[in-house]
Every structure is written in structure tokens, then in C-alpha cells.
């Protein structure tokens, strides 16, 4: 089983290499290969999670054995948390790639698009699998450099400007992260995350650790677009082609931002009190300011992009609360509920935000505009887009029985049980404002009178676009099942256990 882990990186990389070469001669090769690869990897990830993950599965790259108990190879580690992320990445990758088959008709250079797309997913799969600090940086750069190119894919004025802004801020974030990795190597003389965690526990130098943590949280915060670091996100996510927006908003900011924060600050650093307070405060700020910025937008994709910031705030608040409760030595059940709520919201957000961006792409595909004021009356002409976007809007604003309701409920219950009344009130308030802004989206996009008479002959989008949207809309409903005992134990609980039992991760890897 451990021999299967490298496939998650190798297959998309090989696809990215082969597509520009073979795709030149073979019509349709790029579409078939990318779809098949991601479908296979999704099934593989589901197989991993169904076979039960009590202990992490590891794979030593190059087959290097540990010397005197110190791991020297680069380890790829698949534990509960990584496998959940792998499922999100590959399922969203498959659906976005499939959607892009029809969407890309107005672009040239489809081979380049699919090659970059595969490269981006190879990088993200690597980030969530790797157990090595420098390797994390390398895979992260693979993913983000591919995404820089994809944001600029339209090569119009807006796209180029957004991509430049994204690259400058992303470059600064990479430098900060590399500096953090360098500092960690200086102190611990190891790059393995588990081993570094082991060495850091022996270090009495608290100020050094806090200094390193500041660099890492600034770097990963920039990648995750938490509120003081968010300036690039609305531009980049709204300028990219829609399948890429769905990948960026739905997956990339989680894989290279939130996931890295969780992995490094729970499994490597010892949990202190100051750090989770910082994380929860950043989360609450993103949650509130993001939604206020979102509600005033008239550009469809910018509205969704600001909501990504706000919803990431929910995730960070949940995770931060769980961490605070753990550091205080509070009730572990409440901490587990907060962490599970955060993770569950992370999964849900990938699904409904991906779907919303695909809907925006469908509307843009037919109306050739992103301005809400210029749309209207589309519900009759585009029934699939309308009904799927309705389910996504209800999911994101937390209306039962859609998945967003349950994850928000879990976060709010955990906040009340852990005596964070202010956070609970903020979470409810933000949820109401989210509902408001999605009512605005529904009203202006689908119900107002059509402003333009030549929009009468608009029909539904092609099959591949409809297929992806319908599957995601069904997932919006189906993921609510994750909350029930029986299913929750298979998917959510292994991931929560990885976060809660931070020492177990280190032990299971260093004792190979």
C-alpha cells in the first residue's frame, strides 16, 4: 500500500510532461489524459480512506533507511488529514478539468492549459503528502508557479495585472517561508517534520521558536489570504479562467495555506497559548471583514472571491478555538468538536465554492459579462445553472439540510461550549450577512428582468459543464451525511485524531 503513495505526485507530473509533447499530434489527448488521471487518483484516495488509517502510511523516497534512528530520506506520509486533503484536491481537479473541456473553447493553447493544470495538482498533492520541510517548500513553489501562469492565462490587461500582483505577494510569502525553514534547520539540524518537532521540544529557546513561528504564519497566511494579507486574492481569483478560479479558491488556498498551518503548528511546534489566540483572531478578522467586503461587490467572481476569505475565516476560527481549548487543558471533546467543525467546513467550502465559481463561469460563458447588474432573468433559460447555484448558495449561507449548515453549527456549538461567546455571535452574524449577499446574487443573476433583448436566445451550457455542476450540487447535499456517526468515524475522525494527538505523528514516523 505504501508503494502507491508516490503515484499521487508521479502521475500528474508525467501527464504534465506528456501533454505538450503528445497533445500536439493527437487531438483530444490532453482532455482524456487529465480527466483519467484525476479520476484514478480520486478513486485511489477514497480507497486509502476506506481501508482505515489508524497509523500513517509512509514511503521513503529513494529507499534510504534511517541512520541511528534519525530519518534521512524524504518521507511521503499519508495520514488521516493528508488523505482528506488528497480527496478534495483530486475530486475537484477531476471535476474542474472535465468542466474545462467545453469552457476552454474560447481559448487557444489548450495543451498549455492542461499541462499547467496537471502541474498545479502535482504540486498540491506533494504539499499534502510530504513529511519534509524543504520538500514542502519545493512542492509549494511548483503549485503556485503553475497557478501564477494560469491566472494570467487570458493575457488581457486585467489578468496580467492580477497575476503580477499575485506573484509579487506570493514571492514575498515564499521568501518568508524559506527563511522560516532555514531557521528551523539551523536550530534542529533536521528537515523531517516529525524529527524537527522532536528536537524543538528539547529546545529551551522560547524566543527563537516564537520568532520562527511569526515568519511561518506570515508566509502561510499570505498564501491562505487571511485578512491582513488578502490583497491579492480577489484580483487573482476573479481574473483566472473559471475552472482555475474554482481550483484556486476551492483547493489551492487550503492546500498551501491552511493545511500547512495545521500540519506545522499542531504536529511540529508545541502548542503554546499565544499562537492559537493569534490564529483565532486572524480567523475572526477574516470572517467579519471578508463578508463586509463581499456584500458590496457587483462583479460576480469578486463577490465569490471575497467570500472565500470570509469562509476561510470560519475554518481558521474553528481550528484556533480547538487549539486554545487544548492548550488550556480543557475538555478534549469540545476541542475535537471545534477541530472537526473547522475541517468539515474546509471540505464543504471546497465543494460549494468550487461549484459557485463553475456557475459564474457558466454565466460568463453565455452572457459574456461578470457584472451582476447586466445579468438577469436567466432562471428559465439556464435551469441547470440556476438550480445548482441555488443549492450552492444555500450551502454557503448555512441553510439546512445542506452541508454548510452542519459545519457552521458544529463551530458555533463548540464556541458556546468553550465559552467563546463573542466568536459564536460573530459566526452567526457573518452567516446572516452571507445569506444576504447570496440572495443578492440569486436575485440579480436569475430573477430580475432581462436587461438586454438579445439575451433571449441563450440556452443551457454544454454537457461537460452541466455534469460537473450537477455532481458538485449533489455533493453539497450528500456531504451532510458526514456528520452522522458511522460515516463520521471513517472520514472526519482520523483527520481530527492526527491534529489532536500531535505526538503520535512524530512517534510513528521517527520509529520506522
Amino acid at each position: 500500500m505504501s508503494q502507491l503513495i508516490p503515484l499521487f505526485v508521479i502521475l500528474p507530473l508525467a501527464a504534465a510532461f506528456l501533454i505538450p509533447i503528445i497533445g500536439k499530434f493527437l487531438e483530444g489527448f490532453q482532455k482524456a489524459v487529465s480527466s483519467l488521471v484525476f479520476l484514478f487518483l480520486s478513486v485511489l484516495a477514497l480507497y486509502f480512506i476506506c481501508s482505515g488509517l489508524t497509523t500513517p502510511i509512509t514511503y521513503a523516497v529513494g529507499g534510504w533507511k534511517p541512520v541511528e534512528g534519525i530519518p534521512i530520506a524524504i518521507y511521503l506520509v499519508a495520514d488521516g488529514l493528508s488523505v482528506v486533503m488528497l480527496i478534495i484536491i483530486n475530486v475537484m481537479g477531476f471535476l474542474s478539468g472535465f468542466y474545462a473541456i467545453s469552457y476552454l473553447k474560447r481559448f487557444t493553447a489548450q495543451n498549455n492549459f492542461y499541462a499547467l493544470f496537471c502541474l498545479m495538482i502535482a504540486g498540491m498533492n506533494g504539499v499534502v503528502l510530504t513529511g519534509d520541510l524543504f520538500n514542502l517548500y519545493v512542492f509549494m513553489e511548483i503549485a503556485v508557479i503553475a497557478s501564477y501562469a494560469l491566472v494570467a492565462f487570458g493575457i488581457e490587461k486585467n489578468e496580467l495585472e492580477a497575476s503580477f500582483k499575485y506573484q509579487v505577494l506570493g514571492g514575498i510569502a515564499s521568501v518568508l517561508i524559506l527563511f522560516g525553514v532555514a531557521l528551523l534547520y539551523w536550530k534542529t539540524k533536521t528537515l523531517n517534520i516529525a524529527d524537527a518537532g522532536h528536537m524543538l521540544k528539547k529546545t529551551p529557546d522560547r524566543s527563537f521558536i516564537i520568532f520562527t513561528q511569526l515568519f511561518l504564519i506570515a508566509g502561510f497566511g499570505l498564501k491562505a489570504a487571511l485578512i491582513p494579507f488578502h490583497a491579492w486574492l480577489p484580483d487573482a481569483h476573479s481574473s483566472a479562467p473559471s475552472p482555475i478560479s474554482a481550483m484556486l479558491s476551492g483547493v489551492l488556498i487550503k492546500a498551501v495555506g491552511i493545511y500547512c498551518i495545521i500540519r506545522l503548528f499542531f504536529n511540529m511546534f508545541e502548542i503554546s497559548y499565544e499562537l492559537p489566540v493569534t490564529i483565532a483572531a486572524l480567523g475572526a478578522l477574516s470572517m467579519v471583514i471578508g463578508v463586509f467586503l463581499a456584500i458590496i461587490q457587483w462583479d460576480l467572481k469578486r463577490l465569490f472571491a471575497y467570500h472565500s476569505i470570509s469562509q476561510m475565516g470560519y475554518v481558521m476560527t474553528g481550528i484556533g478555538m480547538g487549539m486554545i481549548i487544548m492548550s488550556r487543558g480543557g475538555d478534549p471533546k469540545v476541542a475535537a468538536l471545534a477541530l472537526a467543525g473547522g475541517l468539515f467546513h474546509l471540505i464543504n467550502h471546497a465543494v460549494f465554492k468550487g461549484l459557485l465559481f463553475l456557475n459564474a463561469g457558466a454565466l460568463e460563458f453565455k452572457c459574456h459579462t461578470r457584472n451582476l447588474l447586466k445579468m438577469g432573468g436567466m432562471w428559465k433559460q439556464m435551469p441547470v445553472t440556476y438550480s445548482t447555484s441555488l443549492s450552492a448558495s444555500m450551502a454557503i449561507s448555512g441553510i439546512p439540510p445542506f452541508n454548510g449548515f452542519f459545519s457552521k453549527l458544529m463551530i458555533i456549538i463548540a464556541a458556546i461550549q468553550g465559552n467563546f461567546y463573542l466568536l459564536a455571535i460573530l459566526a452567526i452574524l457573518v452567516s446572516i450577512l452571507t445569506l444576504g449577499s447570496f440572495l443578492k446574487f440569486q436575485k440579480y443573476a436569475f430573477f430580475n428582468k432581462p436587461g438586454n433583448p438579445d439575451r433571449q436566445n441563450i440556452s443551457e451550457v454544454p454537457f461537460t459543464m452541466c455534469f460537473s455542476m450537477i455532481v458538485l450540487a449533489l455533493l453539497c447535499l450528500g456531504l451532510s451525511l458526514l456528520i452522522f456517526p458511522g460515516i463520521r468515524e471513517i472520514i472526519l475522525d482520523p483527520a481530527v485524531n492526527v491534529i489532536m494527538n500531535s505526538t503520535e505523528y512524530a512517534l510513528s514516523i521517527t520509529s520506522i
Binding site: V138, E141, K157, N158, L160, Q167, V168, G171, V175, A182
Partner: protein
């Protein structure tokens, strides 16, 4: 110690360039400064006082060796930095073709 401080100074010069310059190319140069200050820092971490090149061989003196791992890391990081900078400059050239200027005050269609 003075070397680390100079390294930090290089980082600050790069940051100053990124924050204050208005020319797209100069912003890219500032970013490169920041990157290379971190690379220098990585090399300095591996340095051992009076250390030899890390080649284990009878002909070479046995004594302390410098740490080879940061050197490998720096090589990798330089290659990654090259790719990132090439990407940035490609976008900068495209921006110049579209807007006819390198001045970021005139490249302001998006409102953050």
C-alpha cells in the same frame, strides 16, 4: 555575526525596493534581492569554522566538515527562484506590451 547582519540588510534593501519603487522591473529586482539574501543566509547556516569541503576521502584532512545539506538546498532554491523570476519578467514584458508603460501607477485597472 556581522555577516548575518549584512544578510538582513540585503533583505531590508530588497523589501524597501519592492515597497517603494514604481517601476515593474525594479520591483522584480527588489524581490530578487530578498530571495538571494535568504539564500545567503542558508549558506551561512551550513558554514563551520575552519571546515573542509564535505568530501570524505583519505587524501582530504579529516577535521570538521561544512554542512553539505544547506548547499544542496540552496542549489534547489536558486533553480526555483530562477523559474519564479522568469515567470515574473515574462508577465512584466506582457504588461509593457498591453499598457505601454512600466509604471505601476498607470497599471491600475483592478482595485484590490
Amino acid at each position: 555575526m556581522i555577516l548575518y547582519l549584512l544578510c538582513f540588510l540585503l533583505f531590508l534593501i530588497g523589501l524597501y525596493g519592492v515597497v517603494t519603487r514604481r517601476n515593474v522591473i525594479k520591483i522584480v529586482i527588489g524581490l530578487v534581492f530578498m530571495e538571494f539574501s535568504v539564500f545567503l543566509m542558508l549558506v551561512l547556516i551550513g558554514y563551520v569554522e575552519k571546515g573542509h569541503a564535505p568530501i570524505v576521502d583519505e587524501a582530504v584532512a579529516t577535521g570538521p566538515f561544512v554542512d553539505p545539506l544547506p548547499q544542496a538546498m540552496v542549489l534547489t532554491a536558486i533553480v526555483i527562484g530562477l523559474a519564479a523570476n522568469a515567470m515574473l519578467l515574462a508577465i512584466a514584458i506582457r504588461l509593457y506590451k498591453k499598457y505601454g508603460t512600466f509604471d505601476i501607477r498607470k497599471i491600475n485597472q483592478l482595485k484590490g
